[in-house]
C-alpha cells in the first residue's frame, strides 16, 4: 500500500533526536507488547509480515503520533481482535478507555507466476505496480533502474504473507540504485540498496 509508513525520501522531517545511554526498553509495557505479538506468531496465527501490515494499516493520524512500541501493540492487538481471540469491546473494558485498532485489510497480492531470474551485475527495473495491500517495495524505487549486487535465498513473497495467504518462495535481490536517479536533488556519490522480491523486478527496457 502507498501508506503513511512508506517514509523513505519524505522531506517533511527535521533533526534526528539521539538519546544518550538509551536503555533497551523505556517502559515495562514495551517488551510485554512485543512478547504478546510473538506469542501469536509462535502459535502460527500470523507471520511477521502480517504484524508489519497490521501496523501499516493503522489510522494514519494514530500511526504518526504513536511510538514504535505503541504501533507494535496496536498492530498485534488488531490481529488478535481480527482472529476473534478477544473483542475490541473487551479490550476497552479491560483498559478502561478507548482502544484504537488498525483499519481493515484490503486484498493481498500474489507473486508473479513465471520465474524471471536476474543475475548479479544485471540492470533491472522496479515494476511500476501499485499494490493496495502489504508491499515491501518502497515507493521511491518504483519504475526506477538499478543494478543487482547480490541474490539472497528464497523467502515467502511478502505481498501474500502479509495477508496470511500462501506465499510463493522467491529469491530477493539486493539492487543498488544511484541516489540521484531516485531523487534529482540527492547527494553526489551516494547509493541506496533495496532488497526486492523477484516479483517487484522486471528486465530493464
Amino acid at each position: 500500500m502507498d501508506g503513511i509508513h512508506d517514509l523513505g525520501g519524505d522531506d517533511s522531517f527535521g533533526a534526528i533526536h539521539i538519546e544518550r545511554d538509551e536503555p533497551v526498553f523505556h517502559e515495562d509495557w514495551e517488551p510485554l507488547a512485543q512478547a504478546l505479538g510473538f506469542l501469536g506468531m509462535g502459535l502460527n496465527w500470523w507471520t511477521a509480515d502480517q504484524i508489519r501490515h497490521a501496523i501499516e494499516r493503522m489510522e494514519p493520524r494514530h500511526y504518526m503520533n504513536a511510538s514504535y512500541y505503541e504501533r507494535f501493540l496496536t498492530g498485534v492487538a488488531s490481529l488478535y481482535v481480527e482472529r476473534g481471540t478477544v473483542s475490541q469491546l473487551q479490550l476497552e473494558k479491560l483498559a478502561g478507555g478507548r482502544y484504537p485498532l488498525s483499519l481493515h485489510a484490503t486484498r493481498g497480492a500474489q507473486a508473479r507466476e513465471a520465474d524471471i531470474h536476474f543475475a548479479v551485475g544485471e540492470t533491472v527495473m522496479a515494476t511500476n505496480t501499485y499494490y493496495r495491500g502489504h508491499c515491501r517495495m518502497p515507493k521511491y524505487v518504483r519504475g526506477k533502474k538499478g543494478v543487482v549486487v547480490h541474490i539472497a535465498p528464497p523467502f515467502p513473497f511478502a505481498g501474500s504473507a502479509g495477508h496470511g495467504l500462501e506465499a510463493k518462495l522467491e529469491p530477493t535481490y539486493h539492487v543498488r540504485f544511484v541516489a540521484k536517479d531516485l531523487w534529482s536533488d540527492a547527494e553526489e556519490n551516494s547509493t541506496v540498496v533495496v532488497d526486492l522480491w523477484e516479483s517487484y523486478l522486471e528486465k530493464a527496457p
Partner: protein, 198 residues
C-alpha cells in the same frame, strides 16, 4: 475520522498492553514466564556486543573474515549468535572508498542477534525518511564526517536480509587482542552511523 479533535483520549499505552495481556491470560494462552523470558533475551542476549565480537574476530582471523563475507549467517552462528531477525545475515564491508549504513524505511527491521534491538533514533520517522535521500547530511548531523570521495551506500532493509556493517580496522590497532578490538565496535558502528575510534 472528521477534521475535528477526537472526543476522548485513548487508554494509556501501558493499560492497553496490560488489557491485552489479561485477555490472553484469561484464555490460558501465555505460557509461564513467557514474557519474562522474552524480556530477558531482548535486553541481554540480543546485544551489539555480539556484533562487536564478530567484527573483532574478522579483523584478527582472515579465514573467519572470508567465512563472514561469504556466509555471515553461518559465521555469526559459529560464534553463538543465531536467532530471530537473523535468519539471513549479510556483512557489509567498508573499504577506503565505500561506507555502508543501514536503515529500514518501511518499519524498523534490524539484525537483532548481532546488533541488538535498535535504538529509538533508528526507529524514528526522521531517520527512516531522510537517510536514503540525504545520507551525507544525516551522517554529518550525527557526527560522522565523510569526505565526498567516499561513496555512501545506504542499505534499506526491505525484505528478509539483515545487515551488519564490517568497518575497516583502524590504524594503530596492530597486535591488539580481540577483546580490546571488540570494545571499539558500538551499535552505532554496526549500523554505520559511526566509525571505530581508538
Amino acid at each position: 475520522m472528521a477534521d475535528r479533535q477526537p472526543t476522548s483520549s485513548p487508554a494509556s499505552r501501558a493499560n492497553r498492553t496490560r488489557a491485552l495481556e489479561i485477555a490472553l491470560s484469561d484464555e490460558n494462552l501465555i505460557p509461564e514466564n513467557y514474557v519474562e523470558k522474552y524480556t530477558q533475551i531482548a535486553e541481554h542476549e540480543w546485544d551489539a556486543k555480539n556484533g562487536a565480537m564478530v567484527v573483532a574476530e574478522a579483523w584478527v582471523d582472515p579465514d573467519f573474515h572470508e567465512r563472514l563475507r561469504t556466509n555471515a549467517t553461518a559465521a555469526c552462528a559459529e560464534l553463538g549468535f543465531p536467532g530471530p531477525q537473523g535468519e539471513y545475515i549479510v556483512a557489509l564491508e567498508n573499504t577506503p572508498t565505500l561506507h555502508n549504513v543501514i536503515v529500514c524505511t518501511l518499519c524498523s527491521c534490524t539484525a537483532w542477534p548481532v546488533l541488538g534491538l535498535p535504538p529509538d533514533w533508528y526507529k524514528s520517522f526522521e531517520y527512516r525518511a531522510r537517510v536514503v535521500r540525504e545520507s551525507r547530511t544525516v551522517l554529518r548531523e550525527m557526527g560522522l564526517y565523510l569526505p565526498d570521495e567516499i561513496e555512501i551506500r545506504v542499505w534499506d532493509t526491505t525484505a528478509e536480509t539483515r545487515y551488519m556493517v564490517l568497518p575497516c580496522r583502524p590504524k594503530g590497532t596492530e597486535g591488539w587482542a580481540k577483546e580490546a578490538l571488540a570494545q571499539l565496535i558500538t551499535q552505532d558502528v554496526l549500523i554505520g552511523v559511526a566509525l571505530p575510534v581508538i
